[in-house]
């Protein structure tokens, strides 16, 4: 008996839900569309952002500094390298011993062996190659260099300071603008969706109050709206995921070609499958919350 009653409630819920959708007409799809648009904007932004992060990381870490040591044995050099590695903001400090440096030079210059003859007599110093952590969460390179210079046993430090700083500043600006835009998109989406759903509720206020008068519980009234909102959100979120996938298919190649010119081989990776599913879910949740929120006041009175 209880279960047959439950089934009846479900049938009624779905029937009422669809009745609302049918009546809502374009309204229904407008909300779905807005949710989709907002989520698409956010996700497209997220994709570019994530890839930019990866790019910045690569460029940032490839641009490090080189410290020439004034030491005369390997132990001492090891110590200095460890001290450098311990500085906050340093990702890696690779010690290159004179022999290895020579080997490298031989490798690079093997076409011109004659030079090496002279090089044999030259005493190469120990060198530490420093690469930095991601630009975003550490102090700029210019702050790092003096710290390295202070360490006993370090001679000269060479770096591409100004270039790197420019890149870092650009990265920072892009990030701030990105964050600002993302928040703006999110806010606009929430406001538009909220208001549209509120209009839907207002247009059915007679229906809601009549349902109450014939003995409907709050849940009975609320659930079709929630279902509707959820379906709307899922349609929106699903479309956003699909749109994102399609635009990656079509636009990524273009962007890749452009960016590769500037930064070397660069691949614009798509968001993961999970992220696409998350988008669908986020849509559903947004629709659900929108409906719940707009109904809250009307079910109280």
């Amino acid at each position: 008996m209880a279960s047959s009653n439950n089934n009846t409630m479900w049938v009624t819920l779905i029937k009422h839900g669809f009745r609302n959708v049918r009546r809502g007409g374009l309204h229904f799809f407008f909300v779905a569309f807005m949710i989709g648009l907002g989520l698409y904007g956010l996700a497209a932004f997220g994709t570019v952002w994530l890839n930019f992060e990866r790019l910045a990381q690569r460029v940032g870490s490839s641009v490090g500094a080189v410290a020439f040591l004034v030491v005369d044995n390997d132990d001492e050099a090891q110590r200095v390298a460890q001290e450098i590695a311990a500085i906050p903001g340093v990702a890696k400090a690779d010690l290159v011993a004179p022999d290895a440096a020579l080997q490298r030079a031989v490798g690079e210059l093997d076409k011109n062996n004659a030079l090496l003859v002279d090089a044999q007599g030259l005493k190469l110093p120990w060198v530490v190659e420093i690469s930095r952590k991601l630009a975003s969460d550490t102090s700029p390179l210019s702050a790092l260099v003096p710290q390295v210079e202070k360490i006993k046993g370090v001679g000269q430090v060479m770096h591409a300071g100004a270039e790197v700083q420019r890149l870092e500043r650009l990265a920072q600006v892009l990030k701030n603008v990105g964050l600002y835009l993302a928040i703006l998109i999110a806010l606009i989406t929430i406001v538009v969706v909220g208001n549209t759903v509120k209009l839907t509720v207002l247009s059915r206020i007679d229906e809601i109050s009549l349902m109450k008068l014939v003995g409907a519980t709050d849940g009975f009234i609320r659930n079709p709206f929630l279902l509707e909102g959820f379906v709307q959100g899922c349609i929106g979120g699903g479309s956003a995921a699909l749109g994102l996938f399609l635009s990656h298919q079509t636009l990524a190649g273009l962007l890749q070609a452009t960016l590769s010119d500037a930064f070397g081989v660069f691949e614009l990776e798509p968001l993961s499958l999970n992220a696409h599913l998350l988008l669908l879910l986020a849509g559903g949740l947004l629709g659900l919350l929108g409906a719940a929120f707009s109904l809250r006041r009307h079910l109280r009175s």
Binding site: S4, N5, T8, M9, V11, T12, H16, R19, R23, D206, E207, L210, M211, K212, L213, V214, G215, A216, T217, F220
Partner: protein, 220 residues
């Protein structure tokens, strides 16, 4: 007794004159009362108090030994399922069909679909709307709409049936049919209150008369 009002006064927000002033009355189970009085006397107000659409400013309304002021929010829907109401302004949902409007009363209770279908069709034929099941209510005449409103109130076999001018838009022939419906609901055990200022109704049906004048119960 099913219905009792104890010194009920209702003053609407923003108005000085009470719509009901110190009204006390008892209605026994199975009674059929006509509630009458001039326009603005407070008939609709009294009915609204009974199905919890309004709260009294003073006094207490008791239904089935239950003081409405003590009723919890969640209990109000359950109470309303025992009461059928024919609203003076019908309150039909214009874009829903005759069938859908009538079925609403049963749907909110979780009545199985098959049963809803059988009952709704049967009753709509009885009120003379068998050929209008799938018409939207906005396409109906005033009298037809009134019959849908009555069907929606009757469909749940309510313990208490409150009718606010149920024959207001009907010709005498239809009025008579509707009154027969209300009387048969009464015969099946419903307690019925009919608000009306139709003198023929009052003369033709010799029933208990509750008379309101400017919010005061002058005869019961």
């Amino acid at each position: 007794m099913v219905i009792e009002l104890q010194n009920v006064t209702k003053v609407y927000d923003g108005s000085e004159q009470p719509a009901l002033a110190d009204v006390s009355l008892r209605i026994e189970k199975g009674e059929f009362c006509l509630l009458t009085g001039p326009s603005g006397a407070g008939k609709s107000t009294l009915l609204r108090l009974l199905f919890c659409a309004l709260k009294p400013s003073q006094g207490e309304v008791i239904l089935h030994d239950q003081a409405l002021s003590q009723l919890k929010r969640d209990d109000i829907p359950l109470l309303r399922r025992e009461i059928g109401v024919v609203f003076q302004d019908f309150k039909l949902l214009p874009h829903l069909t005759v069938y859908e409007n009538t079925a609403l009363t049963l749907e909110v209770r979780g009545t199985p679909q098959v049963e809803i279908d059988r009952k709704v069709k049967e009753l709509l034929i009885q009120v003379g709307l068998g050929h209008r099941l799938n018409h939207r209510c906005e396409q109906l005449s005033g009298g037809e709409q009134q019959r849908v409103a009555i069907a929606r109130a009757l469909i749940g076999d309510p313990f208490i049936l409150l009718c606010d001018e149920p024959t207001g838009n009907l010709d005498p022939e239809r009025s008579k049919d509707i009154m027969e419906l209300l009387l048969s609901a009464n015969a099946r055990g419903s307690t019925v209150i009919v608000a009306t200022h139709d003198p023929t109704l009052i003369n033709n049906y010799q029933r208990r008369i509750l008379r309101l004048d400017e919010g005061v119960l002058t005869s019961s």
